[in-house]
């Protein structure tokens, strides 16, 4: 168990980070903290992917000095997935932030439960 954990250190760290981010996104009341949780959660996935694509002792997959052997380079696909994931995460974060700004302007609070209370009172 301990040996496995040590060998898969970065995977374990990324899962812990994912849990932290996930918990924050789900349980925090403050919208900003939720968005921070979302970003921690996504970063954990990128760490996981980067770790899975990396192979000890190999170079980044850019052909230099005419070396075209597959054995010389790390797996490029996870890096591509990370890039795609970052784009997705940036766009949803931007949308969430703009939504948060609108809600704050309207209700002057970032707490979703209080927003619901104010909404009920208004009706």
């Amino acid at each position: 168990m301990g040996v496995n954990l040590l060998a898969n250190m970065l995977e374990a760290v990324s899962m812990v980070l994912f849990g932290i981010g996930f918990g924050n996104l789900l349980l925090q009341k403050n919208l900003m903290k939720k968005i921070i949780g979302l970003n921690i959660m996504d970063s954990a996935v990128y760490l996981f992917l980067a770790e899975k694509g990396y192979i000890e002792g190999r170079a980044a997959p850019i052909v230099t000095d005419g070396v075209r052997s597959m054995e010389a380079y790390i797996n490029p696909i996870p890096s591509g997935l990370v890039l795609t994931g970052i784009v997705v995460s940036v766009s949803v974060s931007a949308l969430m932030l703009s939504l948060t700004i609108r809600l704050y302007r309207r209700y002057h609070t970032l707490d979703l439960d209080r927003i619901s209370m104010i909404m009920k009172r208004e009706e």
């Binding site: 994912f18 996930f22 789900l26 954990a44 996935v45 997935l81 948060t100």
Partner: protein
């Protein structure tokens, strides 16, 4: 003939680019582009459907120049093409039915943005339906989420903003789980294409090395998609999002956006994990139980609800429960029933949302039940539409909902372990459905001679009436000629395997 193989790709790219084009067009032109694009995508999907029915086998379309294990692929079979065609039809009719309301509720300067979102939503739905690559599916799941959130918040009132925030949070939780699930699956199998993953999964199971991680991965993906499609108890965002957004959005979200995720889940079950592998995990029982709970609690919430639109929204929770119960039965018949119910619910629920706006508009824009008294006489076509939608949802013969209930019951008989709970819950849920839908139908056809509200003539809203008539025809067509549809679903599911 072989040129038709390009059509799935063309329809996805066409909708994607038209989204970009609409952002610089004036509202009126954007509307024309939107209608044209939905129609063209529908026609292309119909041609693909005809092609795969004639050839009798699915085809794989290579994206770019890299063959199978590395490149990206599109795959079209009977079920994919039928689903794409159906999504286009429902979307077009929902846009027609809600057009007048959109003009009233959304500022003129934002109209083109609304059509951008609708085009992007259609694009993501088509991509989810056709793609053969898991990571592409994830990206389009997120595009679907963003477009759906935009559709909710385009009507800028407090309720919709809060509902959009709740929707985003729940959706992001779901897509986070889906993302980590498919990253782990990539880690386990080394592939992103669905067919390659399935081979590797079978290898893993034969070796018995990574059995537990595999189950966890499947659970993460299934739960992620279940959260995104608003399976009970993850439906808290749903009533406000469907109840207060502009009516086209509500119809599209309830009948299409959540169905895209469910279709992706069915695809993952068949094409990625393997139906038999999925059946041997306990996850299927979890889906079954939550499906049953959704059927009961969704209907109970709908009965308690005081507003007519939120009532229909809660009914969606129950109907999504039906679909998950069908998946949870774990037989092919159950899956056929679930897919049929995707069609039946989409046709019925979009009709209900479009019809209800006609009723509330002739009742002083009030959502309370008491004000709806006699609304069926004041807006005749909306009254007929609402009645047909209600009868279909309750499961009265000749309408689509009846067939799906029969299919569910027949599927349950073949699964002895789950027969009793399915039958009991099916019966209870039908009675509960009947209570709240029939209550409303009786209310709108109770004459109120001293009503202070004025009616509306049919010729004042021709497009709205046309949308309702076509929706009613669709519901009756699905109900009356169910056998070809069921056969097509069966062929499509066989092609999946």
């Amino acid at each position: 003939m072989d040129f038709i193989r390009n059509f799935p790709f063309i329809s996805i790219v066409l909708t994607l680019f038209s989204g970009a084009v609409c952002s610089v067009l004036p509202g009126r032109a954007a509307r024309w582009v939107n209608t044209a694009v939905i129609t063209v995508s529908g026609v292309l999907s119909a041609l693909v459907l005809r092609y795969v029915l004639i050839t009798g086998e699915c085809f794989v379309y290579m994206m770019g120049h890299f063959p199978a294990p590395w490149g990206n692929e599109i795959r079209a079979g009977v079920l994919e093409a039928a689903m794409a065609l159906f999504f286009c039809i429902i979307m077009l009719l929902s846009m027609w039915g809600g057009r007048k309301k959109l003009v009233e509720e959304v500022e003129e300067s934002r109209h083109n943005l609304y059509y951008v979102l609708v085009n992007l939503l259609l694009c993501s739905l088509l991509a989810l339906v056709y793609t053969n690559d898991l990571f592409t599916a994830y990206v389009f799941v997120e595009i679907n989420t963003i477009a759906a959130c935009g559709l909710i918040m385009v009507r800028q009132i407090g309720r919709t903003l809060a509902a959009a925030a709740r929707y985003m949070i729940m959706s992001l939780v779901g897509s986070g789980l889906l993302l980590i699930g498919l990253c782990m699956l990539y880690d386990l199998t080394g592939h992103l294409l669905m067919s390659n993953i399935q081979e590797s999964v079978r290898g893993i199971l034969a070796d018995g090395t990574y059995a537990i991680p595999l189950v966890i991965t499947i659970a993460l993906m299934v739960v992620g998609l279940a959260i995104k499609s608003a399976l009970f108890p993850f439906h808290a965002w749903l009533p406000d999002a469907y109840g207060y957004s502009t009516i086209s959005s509500a119809a599209i979200l309830s009948s299409l956006a959540s169905k895209g995720y469910i279709f992706l889940l069915i695809k993952i079950i068949y094409r990625v994990i393997g139906f038999d592998v999925f059946n041997n995990t306990h996850i299927i029982n979890v889906l079954f139980v939550f499906g049953l709970l959704a059927m009961i609690f969704g209907s109970l919430s709908a009965i308690k609800e005081g507003g007519i639109r939120r009532m229909i929204a809660f009914s969606s929770v129950a109907q999504v429960g039906y679909i998950y119960m069908g998946i949870g039965l774990g037989t092919e018949a159950g899956m056929i029933a679930a897919v049929y119910h995707i069609f039946a619910h989409a046709a019925g629920k979009a009709l209900l949302f479009i019809a209800v706006i006609g009723l509330t508009d002739v009742s002083g824009f009030s959502r309370r039940f008491i004000d709806q008294t006699g609304a069926g006489y004041r807006n005749k076509i909306a009254g007929i539409g609402f009645t047909v939608g209600s009868l279909s949802m309750v499961g009265v013969p000749i309408f689509a909902g009846f067939i799906s209930k029969i299919l569910f019951a027949q599927a349950a008989i073949r699964n002895t372990g789950k027969l009793l709970p399915t039958m009991i819950v099916l019966a209870v849920s039908t009675i509960l459905n009947a209570i709240y839908f029939m209550k409303t139908v009786i209310r709108i056809y109770t004459p109120s001679p001293d009503s202070k509200f004025t009616g509306i003539a049919l010729k004042e809203e021709k497009l709205y009436a046309l949308a309702i008539v076509l929706f009613v025809a669709l519901n009756i067509a699905l109900g009356m000629s169910s056998q070809p549809v069921v056969n097509a679903i069966q062929t499509g599911l066989t092609m999946f395997g």
